[in-house]
Point group: C2
Chain length 409, copies 2
C-alpha cells in the first residue's frame, strides 16, 4: 500500500472566469472506456467534433479541431505556425492576455509592435485600423474577451480592415466562445482560438481552433512531413523555414485531422469525449439561447451587486458579459473575503493580476456555472462575507434585486 | 436539438503499444466534479502528484510534474527549455521516435548529430559513449523503449559517461515508465519524459517529466517572468536568450508547480485527477510487482505466438518487454487481419511505421491491458484470424503454450 488518500474533492460552486463547473454529462463522458486513436469509431468521433466546432465558431472553414493542451496551447499553435521569424506582428493590448499574445509572438521571432489601452477599456476599432495602415503588419493578434479586466473588444470592423489590408487576424476567443457571439466568417477572422474550461464547461485540456484558407496558405508554405514517417524515397524536408515547434505545427496536425490520419501525437481520448459532449450540449441548447442565458444571469448578478452597494470596475460600454469585475471596498482584504467564501460557503470567485491584484474581484457567469441558483448563492454569500468584514450593506437587498430581474424575464 | 448521437463507444480489448485500456478507477476519477486550479484542495492534489512522480521515476529531484499535453509535449518542453539555438545535440536513433527527438531538437535550433542503428537493434553503449567523447555535445537525447521496433536501449553506462563528460542526458521513457524499471537517479539521467497512456493506463493527455539540478541550471539561466504578471516596477525580462516557447517554458512551469503558484496555464483538472489516481494505483501495486506482471504476460504472449508458428521481429537480446513485434507471414495482408480482429473480436493490435509498415504487427502488454485474460484473448483471436487468412497454424497450440507459462508461475 502506498498510503495515498483516495480522491474525494469537495463540492464547489465555481464562479470564477474559468475553470468553471463541468456539466455532469461531460463528466460522465470522460468515464467511458477509451477507444484507440485510429479505431474507426474514434476517428468518427473526431470528425463529429470538427463539424460541431464549425457550428460553434460560425464558420465554413475546413479546419476546426482542438489542439491537445490548455487554452494557451491553441494560441501558441496558431501563432508559431503563422508567424515566420522576422514577420511584423501588431498586438493591441488592453489586459493581461494581450501581453501573453505579445510574449508568444516575440518568442516566435516576430518583430512585434504593441498598442496599449489603459486596463478597464478597449480600443475604438478605428485606432487599431489606423495602426494596421501605418505598421502594415503581416499579422494582427488580439483578445476578444479579456478576463483580467472583464472587457470585450468589438471585432467586426477590425476584421474587415485586416482583410482589406491583407493582414492575418488572429483572435483569442478563449473566454467568449460558447457564451457570447463569436462570428469567425462574418467578422473576417482568419484564425480563432477558443477555450473549453469557460463557457463550454468542459475541463481544461483542449484548445479548439479554426482557421481559414488565408491562414492555411501560410501553414502549407512551411509544411514538412515528420522524420520517421516519410516512406523510403520521400524526403522528410529540411529544417529551413519550418515551424519552430513539432507539437504545435498546424501543417502536421491538419494531416492528422484529415482523412490521411498521418500519425502525430496520440489524441487525448477522454478529453475528446468531453469536448464532443460539451459541444453536443451547447448546440442542443442552441447558441442563441445559450448567449441569452448568459446575458440574463449577468443582469441579475449586476443588479444584485449594485443593490449591495458595490461598484463595478471598468468601462461599462465594453463589459464582457460573462465576467463581472467588482471594486474591492476600501479597507477590505479581498483575499480574506475570498477565503471565507471558499472555506465556509464552498464558493470560489477570482482575484486579478498585475496592476489589478488586490483591487478587484472577478465573478464569472460561464457555462454550467451560469445558473440562477449559482448567481443567488454567490450574492447571498458575498453579502454575508462583506458584513463579516465590517462593510455596511443594505442587508437582503442584493437577492431581492436579482429576483426582480428574474421576475422580469 | 442538434441531432448528434449520444456517446456510446464499443468495448475494446486494446493490445497496442498505446493508448491502452484505462483502469476503471482512473475513469471514475475523471468523472468527479472539478476544483479550481488555485483551490488549496487542488494544489494539494498537485503536490501529491509530484511526490508520486518522484517515486515513479526513482528520483530525489525537486522537479517532477506533468506537462499539459500528450507525451510528445513533454519531450518538446524538455528539449526547447534545455536547448539554446546553436547548442550541439547528439541523437542516437534506432527507430521512429529517435527521429522525433532529432526533429524536435532541430526545430529548437540545435546543431544535431545523429547516430543510426538499423531498426530492430539498439546501440552498444560504448558506441554512444565514443560519439559523446568525439562530438562533445551539450546534450544527448535518446529513446529508452522504442515502440516502433519493440527495442529497449540500456542506459546506465551512457548515463555515467554523459555525467563524466558533462553532457546533459535527456531520455524518452514514454513507453517504459511504469512497466519496466526506469532509474532516473541511479542511471544519471538529467531529464526523463514519461507517458500516461501506456504502462500507467491513464488516458493520453499529460506528459510526466522530471529533471535534476544540472538541467535546472540551464532552465534558470534562460528564465523570465511572463508579461502581464510582472508587478509594477519589476521588469518582465527581454526576449533575448529566452525559451522559444511560452507553453513549454520549464522556468515558468516550475514557478506554477512551486509554492509560488505563479499563474501560467489553467491546469487540466480532470487529467490531473486521472494521473494522480493512475500513480496511486501503480504505487499501491508496487513497482517491482508491476514490472514482474509485465514480464510474466510478455512470456506467455511470446510462448503463444511462437507455438502458433509466428516469428518475432528484431534482436531478441534487446527486446522491449512491453511490446512484442511479430513478422506478418508471407502473403498475408496485415491490415485485413487487424480489421478482422477489431470488427469481430473487438481487439486492437497495431501496425508499424515507415520501413516496417506492412511488415510487422506490434502487440502491447501494457498497464491495465497487460492481463492474463487479454493475452489469452489476443492469442485465440489471432489464431482464428490467421486460419481465416489461409495461414497454416497448429490450431490450439498457442493457448496451451501460454497456459503452460501461467502454470509455471
Amino acid at each position: 500500500m502506498s498510503g495515498w488518500a483516495e480522491l474525494n474533492p469537495s463540492p464547489r460552486t465555481i464562479m470564477t472566469p474559468g475553470p468553471v463547473e463541468v456539466d455532469p454529462r461531460v463528466l460522465r463522458a470522460m468515464s467511458y472506456p477509451i477507444l484507440g486513436q485510429f479505431d474507426p469509431e474514434f476517428t468518427s468521433l473526431m470528425n463529429d467534433t470538427m463539424a460541431m466546432l464549425r457550428s460553434l465558431f460560425r464558420t465554413d472553414n475546413r479546419w476546426a479541431y482542438p489542439i491537445d493542451g490548455t487554452s494557451r496551447s491553441g494560441i501558441e499553435a496558431v501563432l508559431v505556425s503563422l508567424i515566420e521569424p522576422g514577420d511584423k506582428v501588431l498586438v493591441p493590448i488592453f489586459g493581461r492576455f494581450g501581453y501573453l499574445l505579445q510574449e508568444i509572438a516575440e518568442r516566435c521571432g516576430a518583430e512585434v509592435t504593441v498598442l496599449e489601452k489603459p486596463w478597464g477599456s478597449v480600443f475604438d476599432p478605428e485606432e487599431v485600423i489606423a495602426a494596421v495602415r501605418r505598421e502594415k503588419p503581416d499579422l494582427v493578434a488580439i483578445v476578444h474577451g479579456e478576463t483580467s479586466t472583464g472587457r470585450m473588444q468589438p471585432l467586426a470592423d477590425i476584421g474587415r480592415a485586416c482583410r482589406e489590408l491583407d493582414a492575418l487576424l488572429v483572435v483569442d476567443a478563449v473566454a467568449t466562445i460558447g457564451g457570447v457571439p463569436v462570428e469567425a466568417d462574418a467578422w473576417c477572422l482568419d484564425a480563432v482560438i477558443g477555450g473549453t474550461q469557460k463557457c463550454l464547461s468542459v475541463p481544461s485540456g483542449m484548445a479548439p481552433i479554426t482557421y481559414n484558407e488565408r491562414a492555411e496558405r501560410k501553414v502549407l508554405k512551411r509544411k514538412r512531413v515528420e522524420r520517421g514517417l516519410a516512406t523510403p524515397g520521400a524526403a522528410p524536408g529540411s529544417g529551413g523555414g519550418s515551424v519552430r515547434s513539432n507539437y504545435f505545427d498546424l501543417g502536421q496536425l491538419q494531416d492528422y485531422w484529415s482523412p490521411l490520419r498521418l500519425n502525430h501525437h496520440t489524441e487525448m481520448t477522454s478529453m475528446l469525449y468531453a469536448l464532443r459532449e460539451g459541444l453536443r450540449i451547447a448546440l442542443a441548447e442552441g447558441l442563441e439561447a445559450r448567449f441569452d442565458r448568459h446575458r440574463r444571469q449577468e443582469a441579475a448578478l449586476v443588479a444584485g451587486l449594485r443593490a449591495m452597494g458595490l461598484a463595478l470596475y471598468g468601462d461599462e460600454s465594453c463589459k464582457l458579459p460573462v465576467v463581472t469585475c467588482v471594486d474591492i471596498p476600501e479597507g477590505v482584504d479581498g483575499e480574506s473575503v475570498r477565503s471565507l467564501l471558499l472555506d465556509s460557503f464552498g464558493i470560489e470567485i477570482a482575484s486579478s493580476f498585475g496592476p489589478l491584484k488586490g483591487k478587484i474581484w472577478r465573478i464569472g457567469t460561464m457555462g454550467y456555472s451560469c445558473s440562477r441558483k449559482n448567481v443567488l448563492h454567490v450574492l447571498g454569500a458575498l453579502e454575508a462575507a462583506l458584513i463579516r468584514h465590517g462593510v455596511k450593506v443594505d442587508a437582503g437587498a442584493a437577492l431581492q434585486a436579482a429576483l426582480d430581474v428574474y421576475a422580469e424575464n
